[in-house]
Structures are given as C-alpha cells and as structure tokens.
C-alpha cells in the first residue's frame, strides 16, 4: 500500500481527471462551443450540413402540450428511441424494440403503455435528465439496427467512442452492453469496454468492471480481435467532427447501422477517462505527441494519416522502454 502506484500511472501516461479538465478541456474547448455538443438537435443539424449521417429523426417534442401528439408521431414506427436532447451519460434514453397490441416492448423486454411514454417525455421536458436540470426537449429517432459483426455480443447497440485531439483521432473503444448494464453502454453499469487499435480498427484488449476479459460474460463470444466494419469511415466522421464543432478535445460516439453504416450518435466535450482502461494504456503520451504536430490547414484525411503515424511512433517508443526496463 503506497502511493508508488501513482508513479506507475505517470510512467504509463494515464491522464487524470484534474489534468484533463485543466489542460485539455479548459485549454482547448471554448465554453461557447459547448451548446453544439450538449444539444443533440444542434449536433444533428451540424452533421446534416457536413454530410455526416445520424439516425433518422422521427420528431421532437419541445413543449408539454405537444405530448398529446406523441401517439400520432409514433404511429408510423414500430421501433424507435426516445431521448433527451441534452442528456448526459446515456441517462433518459428509452428504446422501444417493437409493439405488441397497445403496448411497447423495451430493449430490456419490459412492456410500456402510451401513458408511460408520455410520462417519460414529460420528465425529459422538465429537465430531469439534462445537465443542470434545465428545461429540455425530447427527440424521437430511428432505432439503430445492430450490425451482424456484433451478433452474440449482448443485447442493445454497441457504440464506438473515439477521442479526437486537435482533429487527430487519439484513442478508441467499443462499448458492448451486457445483461448487467441493462442494454446500456455505460461502463459503470457493467458494459464491456474493448480498446480498438486506432490503426486497424480491431479490438485488442477488453475490460468488464475493471477486470481484463477475453469473452463476453453473457454469450462467451470473444471480445478481442473484432474487426469493426467501415473503420475508415468512423475515423473520417471523428476527424470531421472536430472541424465542424471547433472543439479541440472531443469524444465522438459512433454507431454502426446494419444497413446504413456508421452514424454519429453524439459528441461529448468532456469525454471520460475509462477509455484508457479499455485500451490498457494512457492518453498523455499520445496527446503530447499530437500537441507538437503542425495541423494548420490539414484535411481530415491527412490527420487520420497523422493519427496512424503517431500511434505507430508511440508503440515503438513504448516497446523500446519496455525492453530497456
């Protein structure tokens, strides 16, 4: 029991929450840009202007009296997702898989009536799930169909988080929901996080509740060595997100639809640090390398190339260090 562990963390280059806030968020993310990512409707509009796909928007509810029209809005759709426009950490996301008679079947199998959906919409509008409890809007969008690569990898939709610094993708992870996480991709609630090799798009390392795992706890399927489809498009979406928002330090959440391919789900101006656990490595050495790059006037394509060379150089240095010790 000693604080030596912090020295190990420093050698690995783990980014702590204080340094992330002070140097990367306060230093690279101007406050005035936050509304672009805190409001999913604003993000969606931005994506449309920049040719980035997002799940189809079925409708929005901005005021309580519009809740009366909810049934009409939902009528053409058997499955959909209702979520707060400015929710955080996946709070308040309600996914309906199908209908049975008058009731709606959730991802977890629970049955809901239209009354429950109305109450949920009203909770969202009241700001129950929004940052700081502010009045919010509810949006209803298409449910993403799970790509076949993720068959037998648990219920719910896996999503891919990419950290982008100065427009250069830095680190990525795939979040796989489990029964324990109730179909949600939240790591604290027991979702699996698998580190994704930024150069190839394959998972190379995975943790479940902070323990290294190689198989999905529900299905036993291997969680390492999964090749994400459309990896180049995921990197392109990530690099472009930085351009369209102007945020220097950004978390980009991408889902892969079986038919439509990668779609941007949401952006995060304060991305979490667990991605380091998922990858078994720290962010700091990569961020420090990217800090030195000259990115002025570069295209997303050029920055993706930079990302690959940064990662290769880092891996070489880390291997060299390991050999030396």
């Amino acid at each position: 029991m000693s604080l030596w562990r912090f020295q190990t963390y420093r050698r690995v280059g783990l980014l702590g929450i204080n340094r992330r806030n002070a140097e990367y968020i306060l230093g690279h993310n101007p406050r005035r840009l936050f509304p672009l990512v805190d409001d999913k409707l604003a993000t969606k509009a931005l994506c449309r202007d920049h040719g980035i796909r997002t799940p189809d928007l079925y409708g929005t509810i901005s005021a309580h009296h519009e809740i009366r029209d909810l049934e009409k809005m939902l009528a053409p759709h058997d499955s959909f997702v209702m979520k707060p426009a400015s929710g955080a950490m996946g709070n308040g996301v309600l996914m309906v898989l199908k209908r049975r008679g008058d009731s709606f079947i959730r991802g977890s199998g629970a049955q809901l009536g239209i009354r429950d959906l109305r109450y949920h919409a009203s909770s969202i509008l009241s700001g129950l799930y929004s940052l700081g409890g502010r009045v919010d809007r509810a949006l209803i969008e298409a449910r993403v169909r799970v790509h076949e690569v993720f068959n037998d990898l648990g219920e719910g939709v896996p999503d891919c988080r990419v950290i982008v610094f100065r427009g250069v993708p830095v680190m990525s992870m795939l979040r796989l929901p489990t029964q324990m996480s109730d179909g949600r991709a939240n790591l604290h609630q027991g979702a699996i996080a698998a580190g994704v090799d930024i150069t190839t798009g394959t998972t190379h390392h995975a943790v479940h509740l902070d323990r290294v795992v190689s198989k999905h706890p529900d299905t036993g399927k291997a969680v390492r060595g999964i090749q994400l489809p459309h990896w180049d498009e995921i990197l392109r979406i990530s690099a472009m997100s930085a351009d369209m928002t102007g945020l220097g330090y950004l978390g980009v959440d991408v889902v892969i639809d079986a038919d439509e391919g990668p779609m941007l789900l949401e952006l995060n101006a304060r991305p979490g640090l667990s991605i380091q656990i998922a990858n078994g490595g720290g962010l700091t050495p990569l961020l420090e390398r990217i800090e030195k790059l000259d990115i002025s006037g570069s295209t997303p394509k050029e920055r993706i190339a930079m990302a690959r060379s940064v990662f290769a150089a880092h891996r070489k240095a880390a291997l060299g260090e390991d050999r030396a010790t």
Binding site: G16, S126, I277, G280, D322
Partner: protein, 527 residues
C-alpha cells in the same frame, strides 16, 4: 503548474502572513487568542416602533460595583429617538424616547471586568444602624412583596426557630426558598404571596418570596436583577435577593443556591423590584442580549484606544464591531475554510458529494443542532423524503410541481419532528428547522434519481461522501480556537485564496484514481 498562478498564490499567502506578523509583533495580538476568564463584551439591543405620543423604553444599565464589577468602553448608538441616561433609585436607567410610527433603536455596548466574589456571610451579626440606614425603604411591603401579610409571618414562624439570630434566619429563609419552593421555568411574574401559597416560582417569584420573608423578620432585603453571561446569544436574565447584615449587602440566590456569594459570570445590573426593560406606547418591541468572552488582544486594543494610541489596523479590527456582528462573523469567516475543505476533498481526494457547497451548509446546520442529532435528523429527513419521492413516482407528476410537493413534504417532516420531540420533552428535535430545506429537497430528488440511474451503491457512496466532507467542515467550523484566530486575523483568508488558486491548477492525480485505475498498477498492458 502555471507560474503566474503560483506567484499570485504566493503573493496572497505572503500578504496574509505579513499582516499577521505585524499585528503580533507591533500591535501585541496573540496568534492563538487566549480568552480572559473575567472580561466580557456585552451588547443589549432594544428596538421598537412608537405607537403613541409618549413612546418610551426604559432599560436598566449596569454600573460599577467596585471591586467585583468594573464597566469600561461603553458605547451607545441610538437611532430614531432621543436617548438619555438618568439615575433612578440609585440605578442607572437608559431612556429611549421615540416618535409615533417611527422605528427607534438603541444599541448599548460595553466591556465588563468581573472578578470572583468570595463573600461569605458574617459568622455573627446583629442588625445594626447601618443596615437600617441602608434599608429604611427595604423593610416596607411592596405591591408584589407582601411582607406584611400574616401568611408570610406565619410561614416564617414555621421555618425559623423563635430565638434565631439574623444570620440563622437568613440561612433558614435561604434553605426554605431554595429547596422547598419548586422552580418554574416560565410565567415568571409570580408575586411573593402566590409563590408562598403554591410553593412554586420562577427566579423573580422566588427572589420576591425570599425578600418578603426577610423583611417580615426585620432584615432589610431587596430584589436584584442581573445577567449570567455566557459566550454567544444564550445569556440569561437572573433575579435573586440581597439582605443587609452588619452594614453590607449579601446575596441570597434561591435558584443557583448561592448564599453570600454569586456565580462568577454574573453581571449585576440593578436593584429593586422593577423590570429590566419597561416600555410605554410601543409596538414591535424586540430585546436582544449578546455576550462574548473577550480576548487578550482585544483587551489590549481597548487599552490602546483609551490612550489614543490606536493604529490604522486597530481601527479596522473586527473587535470594534458590535458583539452580535462579531458572533456572526466568527462563523462567517470560517466558511471559506469550509469551501477550501470541499475543494480539497473533491479535487484532490475525489470524494463525490451532492451539490458543491451542500457539505458546508450541512456543517452550519450541524452547529445549530449538535452533531449526533444533526446527522440522525438529516438521515431521517432524507429517508422519509425518499419514501415520499418513490410514492410520487406513481403519480407521474411534472418536475417543478413534484419538487415543490417534495419541498412541502420536507417542511412537514421537520414540523412533525419538532412537534414529536416537544411532546416527548426533548429539545433536540426542535432544531431540525436549521437545515437548508431547499437544498435538502434537491438532494432527495438527486438521491432518488441516482438510485435508479447509477444504482443504490453509487447513491450510498455519494451520501457517505457528502457526510464525510460535512463532518470535516463541521470539525473545522466548530473549532473555537480557529474561530477566535480568524476573527483576530481576518487576513488569513488571503492564504485561503492562494490555496484555492493552487488547487484550481492542480493537475496531478486524485487519490480516488489510485483505485479507479487499479488495472494499471502493474504498468502498461501490451497491446
């Protein structure tokens, strides 16, 4: 770390330290102020609105009674009326005359030096001429001291031996009124005869009875009114009796049981059967009494000011403020230290809490309620509130009305606790109202949402974190020593500002990350 921040922090801390050093070195302040055992700062405040043409408030003011009681540094601030000090029946009386409809305020501040009264009753004494001179008026019956009533005389016969001398008689009267007459806590306007008949009375009633019995025995006696000084706003007005023996007045206190001497902290205000404060044609009357133990530094400051040698820093000293304000500032000045603790716990240790300053507010509430009771009440309120919040889930209410409903429930819980504890005769629960109600309501809401979204474990962890930080703040805010030190040296807030700057730019790991990143304890995992 940013050099500018470090320099600024160092400059702030440096300023604070220099001022403290100057005050200690040149002005004779003490770093850890010692309180004097016998010097007090006292403030009496009267406030009223005139309701008639001759609106007036008369308040008895204490005077020197060498060698036991010496008053100095008196200061009177009156507003909205004329103020005069007159002498009446040998007592000093402050008269505040106001106008119809106008607010009149009198703030009377003074410092007092009390020394021990080690008086004992003389071993043997007759009633001498001096006593009668002292007390020609102190043998007559008065409106509320019916010493000429035959019932008083017959009771005196019952409790006193027929051939007892004055000393023995006084002892018998003291023993009877102290032990046989029960104490009443309220309704203290009992006259001597009533107290005698029901054998019950408050301090004034018992004092009147003692005086009546003494006068019936031919011993000059009078009622005395004073104040038991206590640090804070809890000083109490007291009444007792004095008897004249062998030319000297001797105290006979049927409440505390003192005979011939008095409690050390007792300030004598006036003699005679009259109220401390009397008014005519006023409304909205308020009277406040605050006392504070004086500190050595403070005493030196008074002495310097008396000799006109005050320096600038003396003049801006907080000791020159009204006592009541000083009491408030003592706690107020510690709040930044509490905020510093919150910052330390949240940013360097990584303890989760509900709301940023909730722990500080809770600590302030705990000071009112006392710790164990405060924690118990808090958990009770949150627990019951949470049950109601769960019930509200069924009704599917909109958020603002739901929160308002919850707020009302919280207030009802607090009212319920107060009623129950009053009926059970416990004063502890009565302080539940000290809690920051709005913030507790928000916490209940946050707590119940957290249980659903992040699991009961996280909710419990955050609750424990909030309590832990609140306890740390409480320990700090309760420190009498720190309270005094910061009141003497408010410039200590400058180093606090410096420390906050440093924490604000601390980019190292949080202690909680020691656990959070435990997967890395063996270093890098080969990809």
């Amino acid at each position: 770390m940013n050099l500018r921040v470090v320099l600024l922090a160092a400059a702030l801390a440096g300023c604070g330290v220099v001022i403290v050093a100057y005050k200690i070195g040149a002005l004779g302040y003490e770093l850890v102020p010692r309180t004097t055992e016998d010097r007090w700062s006292v403030q009496m405040q009267v406030r009223y609105r005139g309701a008639g043409d001759n609106a007036v408030a008369r308040i008895h003011l204490p005077s020197d009674r060498e060698p036991h009681q010496r008053i100095y540094d008196e200061r009177i601030v009156s507003e909205g009326g004329t103020f005069d000090v007159i002498t009446q029946d040998g007592n000093r009386v402050g008269v505040l005359a106001g106008h119809v409809g106008a607010q009149s305020t009198l703030s009377y501040r003074f410092a007092v030096h009390l020394s021990a009264r080690e008086g004992v009753l003389p071993a043997e004494a007759e009633i001498i001429d001096g006593d009668l001179e002292n007390g020609s008026a102190w043998l007559e019956a008065e409106q509320y001291i019916q010493s000429d009533d035959p019932r008083v005389a017959s009771r005196l016969e019952e409790i006193n031996a027929p051939d007892a001398g004055p000393i023995e008689t006084v002892r018998h009267i003291h023993g009877y009124v102290t032990d046989e007459v029960a104490d009443l806590d309220f309704g203290d306007d009992t006259d001597a005869l009533t107290a005698l008949q029901v054998e019950r009375g408050g301090p004034l009633g018992k004092a009147r009875l003692a005086v009546a019995l003494a006068r019936a025995a031919g011993i000059p006696a009078r009622v005395v009114t004073g104040i038991d000084l206590e640090d804070g706003a809890r000083s109490e007005v007291q009444h007792w009796a004095e008897v004249s023996l062998a030319g000297d007045w001797h105290a006979l206190d049927p409440i505390s049981g003192y005979l011939g001497s008095l409690p050390r902290q007792r300030l004598i205000v006036f003699t005679g059967d009259a109220p401390l404060l009397s008014t005519a044609a006023v409304e909205d009357l308020s009277f406040q009494l605050t006392a504070m133990k004086e500190e050595v530094s403070q005493h030196r400051l008074y002495r310097r000011r008396a000799s006109d040698a005050g320096r600038l820093l003396d003049r801006v000293s907080l000791y020159t403020l009204p006592v009541q304000t000083q009491m408030t500032l003592r706690v107020l000045l510690l709040i930044p230290f509490g905020a510093l603790i919150v910052a330390l716990f949240r940013n360097m240790v990584g303890v989760p809490t509900f709301g940023t300053f909730m722990p500080v507010l809770l600590a302030l509430a705990f000071i009112e309620t006392s710790l164990a009771i405060g924690v118990a009440l808090l958990l009770l309120i949150i627990g019951v509130g949470w049950v109601f919040r769960r019930l509200l889930d069924w009704l599917q209410l909109l958020m603002i009305p739901r929160l308002s409903f919850l707020l009302t429930v919280v207030i009802l819980i607090i009212v319920g606790i107060s009623l129950l504890s009053d009926h059970a005769g416990m004063t502890a629960g009565l302080s539940a109202a000290a809690f920051p109600i709005v913030i507790i309501t928000a916490t209940i809401e946050r707590f119940s949402v957290m249980i659903v979204e992040e699991g009961p474990r996280n909710a419990a962890k955050t609750t424990a974190g909030t309590l832990l930080v609140a306890l740390a703040c409480y320990a700090l805010l309760m420190s009498n020593m720190l309270q005094r030190t910061v009141l003497a040296f408010p410039e200590l807030l400058l180093p606090v500002l410096g420390a906050l700057l440093l924490i604000g730019r601390y980019t190292g790991y949080r202690l909680s990350e020691w656990v959070r990143f435990a997967a890395f304890k063996k270093g890098f995992k080969e990809a």
